[in-house]
């Protein structure tokens, strides 16, 4: 806060009332699991095919791009910051991938990955070094990458020419070499890998732990000797990579490079991370739990089609279910928690 105003008052407000073991933290995680289970039961009751193998495959495919983005933005949310540029980075990546298959072949994936690194790095440097609020920094880079997507694609939605389908047919593979995958699509395995890598990085490396620490108390993290700017830049870079991977998923899944494909996913990814228990004010949250938030939103969207929610009511039901899920997830026990 701008003025410390008699710390005695502030300090007395911050006393942690009573015993708050880490278990109570976990209860809120199981709540989002409980709400998913409740919805699964309900939707299956209404239409048994909901849990049929094809729809499980659909659910897991739909989860993949949002999961890649949500894990990225979850790291940024841990800092207490926000990343609004994921949508455009994903769109730009989808367009690039479609174009680069021709000249680079399999290396196109690497090139798009590097683009994700660069885009995330730019956000991190603008925020950490120039001290521009992350809301504005990422909102501005969103419009920059949106323009880039238009320019690269020449204003046309790009089709992946059949000649290059070879690079993307693995998406529909039903087995990983000898191992039959059943309903699990390859995209989901990659998304899971991203989640696990991001979780390990956040929980088991110095920079990763710094992200959580500085989100909880940046002043203390600085004095403890943690690398604040480095952690911020890496968090935004990983978020950029997550967005690029989501862009690759869109391109590979839709066999197209559409410059506006990722536009709507900024807020969905942030809502998913929040539903997964990541606090928007930073310092609280668990990467592995983000899949619960993403799963919940995907189950809602998919379920509404399976049980034929009337077209006019879909947006209303979606909003109400997100509100209910967040209500059950919010931490109402700590009286002194300031919720902005």
């Amino acid at each position: 806060m701008s003025n410390p105003a008699h710390p005695d008052l502030a300090a007395s407000g911050r006393v942690y009332a009573g015993e708050r073991s880490r278990l109570r933290d976990n209860i809120s995680r199981f709540v989002s699991l409980a709400s998913i289970v409740a919805l699964l039961i309900l939707f299956t009751a209404m239409n048994p095919n909901f849990l049929g193998a094809p729809n499980i495959r659909n659910l897991l495919t739909d989860i993949s791009p949002i999961l890649a983005m949500s894990c990225g933005v979850a790291l940024v949310l841990l800092l207490g910051s926000i990343d609004l540029s994921m949508g455009s980075i994903a769109s730009c990546s989808a367009v690039m991938l479609t174009l680069l298959f021709g000249p680079l072949g399999w290396w196109a994936f690497a090139a798009v990955f590097l683009f994700g690194v660069f885009a995330g790095l730019l956000n991190g440097v603008l925020h950490a070094k120039l001290k521009v609020p992350s809301f504005i920094a990422t909102l501005s880079t969103q419009s920059i990458w949106q323009s880039a997507a238009y320019i690269i694609s020449g204003g046309q939605p790009l089709t992946l020419v059949p000649g290059n389908w070879g690079y993307v047919n693995w998406v529909r593979a039903k087995s990983l070499g000898p191992l039959p995958l059943g309903p699990v699509p390859p995209l989901f395995l990659i998304a899971l890998a991203v989640m696990i890598v991001y979780h390990i990085y956040q929980s088991r490396t110095g920079t990763g732990k710094t992200m959580m620490a500085l989100g909880a108390n940046e002043r203390a993290a600085r004095l403890i000797g943690l690398g604040i700017d480095q952690a911020k830049i890496v968090a935004f870079t990983l978020s950029g990579i997550g967005a690029a991977i989501a862009g690759v998923f869109f391109a590979v899944k839709l066999k197209s490079g559409i410059p506006t494909v990722g536009e709507q996913y900024n807020l969905i990814a942030i809502a998913s991370a929040a539903l997964g228990g990541v606090a928007l004010t930073g310092g609280r949250g668990h990467i592995l739990m983000v899949i619960l938030g993403v799963g919940l939103i995907t189950v809602i969207q998919n379920g509404m089609n399976v049980v034929a929610v009337d077209g006019f009511w879909q947006q209303i039901v979606f909003g109400l279910l997100v509100l209910a899920a967040i209500y059950m997830n919010s931490d109402r026990r700590r009286r002194d928690l300031v919720v902005k």
Partner: protein, 509 residues
């Protein structure tokens, strides 16, 4: 001005925090129209008593009375209602509101007509209130953020005065906690005139300050506090600085308490040297050498610049003059992280705000300053962290249900030990301790002192800002005294030939 009935009285006041006793059986009486001075070392319980009177915190024991009736406020607003107002050390004005809005914050009811605030009338009344303490040159419509520190302090005093005298002009109690630290001479004189005018109007003032000359100048009676107890009550006419020092300081605690016998003889290798170090506006001309195994104590009152010196050494602030040499290399730290790389690490003063990550578990907090030491195949291994944590918890006898416990839940003393465990787990060899035993129970204090001895014995150097003068003398082998940003005196304090507190205090205050 002797009137028999007391305006305010507090008897057998006690305040115990888990593990520490801040106040113990304290008596205080204030007659109407009287200015009572309150002096004592840091941590003597002065601020705690004011907080109890203001209703910010509730006493563990004891009773208070205001104008003869029982008085137990639960919030500052209740206290204001009963005619008790306080000016805080750190200002509580809202930066973005104007002076008038601040003075009448929360009390605008009488100026509101059908929802709209009659600002003109409010500002007129503000000008009158400011006039009452002689600062009506301040424009009521000016934003507080555009005022300098001293003016803000005067506005805060005017506000408290207006709140307190709202119901009845006389018979109120105004508490001033270190109001003069940012004022210059003319402003201090103006403040004293106002205090005297308030007293003349039948109100009473409790004036807390570390500047004994000021207290002597304005108070009718002076209470001296020591370690949360009444140490002395002196009338103005039979009090002078020497007596006050002597009462404040009381008997020097035996050397054994500070483990004086284990005070290491400093090695000759100079770990850190400050050559004419200074930071514009905060301190200047500091020369000090820190050798291996040596503890250099820095003494001084609030605003003497000692805290800013610590901030510069540990890389939290930059310096604008002189040189800081660490292990022979001139360093200019951009952040505490760079300082840590050069082997300099600090224990901050505000433990909860600056020393620990409250939500993180103990084992993570302990490892936070030195992740590299717990790395296995590129990752920080939780097992190594936990092992180290278990070892440190036993070593420092930290009382905790388990090492997974969030540090936010530990008592003050145990949390401080976690910070020490973090320092020990890092390979820093120059430690900057900023009030390491502040708000820690007596038992934990002793453990920390022997811990400090172990650390110096292992060859690390320490710059220590003692919680009390006594602590500084007891632990340090060299003492530097600072006042208003400048070094006023240096003392050698080898084991067995410790300087007297009296001598040092002369240069401090």
């Amino acid at each position: 001005m002797e009137t028999h009935s007391l305006l305010f009285s507090a008897s057998k006041m006690a305040k115990r925090y888990p593990g520490t006793t801040a106040l113990n059986a304290v008596e205080l009486e204030v007659r109407p129209g009287e200015i009572v001075g309150l002096v004592g070392e840091n941590g003597a319980g002065k601020s705690t008593l004011l907080k109890l009177i203001m209703g910010i915190e509730q006493p563990t024991e004891g009773a208070m009375a205001m104008r003869g009736e029982a008085y137990a406020p639960r919030t500052p607003i209740e206290a204001n209602g009963m005619g008790v107002g306080m000016v805080f050390q750190e200002q509580s004005l809202i930066q973005n509101l104007t002076v008038g809005q601040n003075v009448f914050f929360g009390l605008e009811a009488s100026y509101v007509r059908c929802g709209f605030l009659d600002k003109r009338r409010m500002y007129e009344d503000t000008r009158k209130i400011l006039g009452e303490i002689g600062i009506d040159y301040i424009r009521p419509d000016k934003k507080v953020s555009n005022l300098d520190f001293a003016t803000r302090q005067m506005v805060e005093i005017a506000k408290v005065f207006s709140v307190v005298t709202r119901r009845n002009a006389g018979g109120n109690l105004i508490l001033l906690d270190e109001p003069t630290s940012v004022l210059n001479r003319s402003e201090v004189d103006n403040l004293f005139d106002n205090m005297r005018r308030m007293a003349a109007g039948g109100n009473s003032v409790i004036f807390v300050s570390h500047r004994l000359d000021e207290v002597l100048d304005v108070s009718d009676r002076i209470y001296v506090f020591k370690d949360g107890r009444n140490a002395a009550l002196l009338d103005r006419k039979d009090a002078n600085e020497a007596i006050l020092y002597e009462k404040m300081v009381g008997k020097t605690v035996s050397g054994e308490y500070y483990k004086e016998d284990r005070q290491a003889v400093p090695g000759d290798e100079v770990l850190l040297e400050a050559r004419n170090l200074g930071r514009r506006g905060f301190f200047g001309g500091v020369n000090l050498k820190l050798r291996r195994g040596e503890v250099v104590g820095v003494c001084g009152s609030i605003g003497s610049g000692k805290e800013d010196l610590c901030a510069v050494v540990c890389g939290d602030e930059s310096y604008t003059a002189g040189e800081l040499v660490v292990k022979g290399r001139v360093e200019r730290f951009a952040s505490p992280r760079q300082a840590l790389k050069a082997g300099v690490l600090s224990i901050p003063k505000e433990r909860r705000e600056e020393g620990i990550i409250a939500e993180a578990p103990i084992y993570e907090n302990i490892a936070m300053s030195n992740f590299r030491a717990f790395r296995r195949f590129g990752c920080v291994s939780a097992r190594l962290e936990r092992e180290n944590a278990r070892r440190r918890v036993d070593e420092l006898s930290i009382r905790t249900p388990g090492i997974n416990q969030s540090v936010g839940f530990l008592s003050g003393g145990n949390a401080q030990k976690v910070v020490f465990a973090r320092i020990l787990s890092s390979d820093a060899d120059v430690l900057v301790l900023n009030h390491p035993t502040r708000g820690v129970d007596v038992g934990a204090k002793e453990e920390i002192y022997s811990l400090i001895r172990d650390i110096t014995a292992s060859g690390k150097g320490m710059i220590l800002l003692g919680d009390t003068l006594d602590e500084c003398i007891g632990l340090a082998s060299r003492i530097i005294v600072m006042k208003d940003g400048l070094v006023t005196r240096e003392f050698d304090a080898p084991a067995g030939a410790k300087p007297e507190q009296l001598e040092i205090v002369k240069y401090m205050v």
